[in-house]
């Protein structure tokens, strides 16, 4: 870019093109949605299969898979922080939103283990997925995530009317529509912008 005289119209063009360039760098978050989406989907369907088809008494142990997600998130976020050359307000907001969500899930687990799990855990979890994906979708201005969040809220309400076993499957369905499908769409969009 050279220094030369330029008109107010040129100034506006520069401002506009630079603002668009920062937008391109927004969406590296799809990897987190994909990893957490698939882990939770496998855990939900895995628990359903172990409980109802295999009749394994400790079916809930499949949720230890979450540790894989935690280890991956810590490793990848440290690596990303070293490589990252820009901090956007959106990436910072997303980070704190999902840290807050993670803590909320953890505290909710403690509360529900004390007050009784049955018939409540999955509707509450799905409700929170809805909140997280809806807000993320609004931050990223990415409609499939916003829609996914709204669908998760609907699924949470429906799940409250079902037995615990079928709530697991509703959990898997919520993950599919609010995390996994929007994450692949986000990935496709990001690739098409950056290639």
């Amino acid at each position: 870019m050279e220094q030369e005289s330029f008109s107010p119209q040129d100034s506006l063009k520069i401002i506009q093109s630079m603002l668009e360039k920062t937008r391109e760098d927004f969406s590296r978050d799809d990897i987190y949605f994909l990893v957490w989406g698939w882990i939770t989907f496998i855990a939900c369907t895995g628990q359903f299969i172990l409980k109802n088809l295999v009749h394994y008494p400790r079916h809930y142990q499949v949720w230890w898979l979450m540790m894989v997600g935690i280890v991956f998130t810590i490793y990848f976020s440290i690596k990303e922080r070293k490589e990252s050359r820009v901090k956007t307000y959106i990436s910072e907001s997303m980070k704190f939103l999902w840290i807050g969500m993670g803590i909320t899930y953890f505290v909710l687990s403690i509360i529900l283990s004390k007050t009784g799990w049955s018939n409540t855990i999955f509707p509450f979890y799905i409700l929170l997925y809805g909140l997280g994906t809806f807000v993320s979708g609004c931050f990223l201005q990415f409609r499939p995530l916003v829609t996914g969040g709204i669908l998760a809220w609907v699924i949470a309400a429906v799940a409250a009317y079902l037995d615990y076993d079928y709530q697991m499957l509703m959990g898997a369905l919520a993950i599919l529509v609010s995390y996994i499908i929007p994450a692949y769409m986000l990935r496709k969009k990001t690739r098409s912008v950056t290639v």
Partner: protein
């Protein structure tokens, strides 16, 4: 009535840098260089001018043994950018609306 355009901002590269920094929390020198498609030398000179005007904060640090220059827009920089955009609007709509 035409408002005067801030000479610090009315330069292609400095305006591009400020436009990038206004929409992010902070950015590294290499990010600015890539997005503005400028040379390191020229960018370095323009960043120093913005820094001297108090429009940006520049922090130098080391990451994995490599020097890193982090730039961040200041409150004064945001106000100057907003005033510049307002002045531009007076050129676009000289009759007031």
């Amino acid at each position: 009535m035409f408002k005067e355009l801030d000479p610090i901002l009315h330069s292609q590269l400095r305006l591009a840098v400020m436009s990038l920094l206004i929409s992010v929390k902070e950015a590294e020198f290499t990010f600015l260089k890539e997005k503005t498609n400028s040379t390191a030398g020229n960018l370095s000179v323009q960043i120093n001018k913005l820094k001297d005007a108090g429009y940006i904060d520049v922090t130098k640090q080391f990451s994995n043994n490599y020097p890193q220059t982090i730039c961040k827009v200041t409150k004064k920089g945001i106000e100057a950018f907003e005033a510049y955009v307002k002045a531009l609007q007076s050129y676009m709509n000289p009759n007031g609306q």
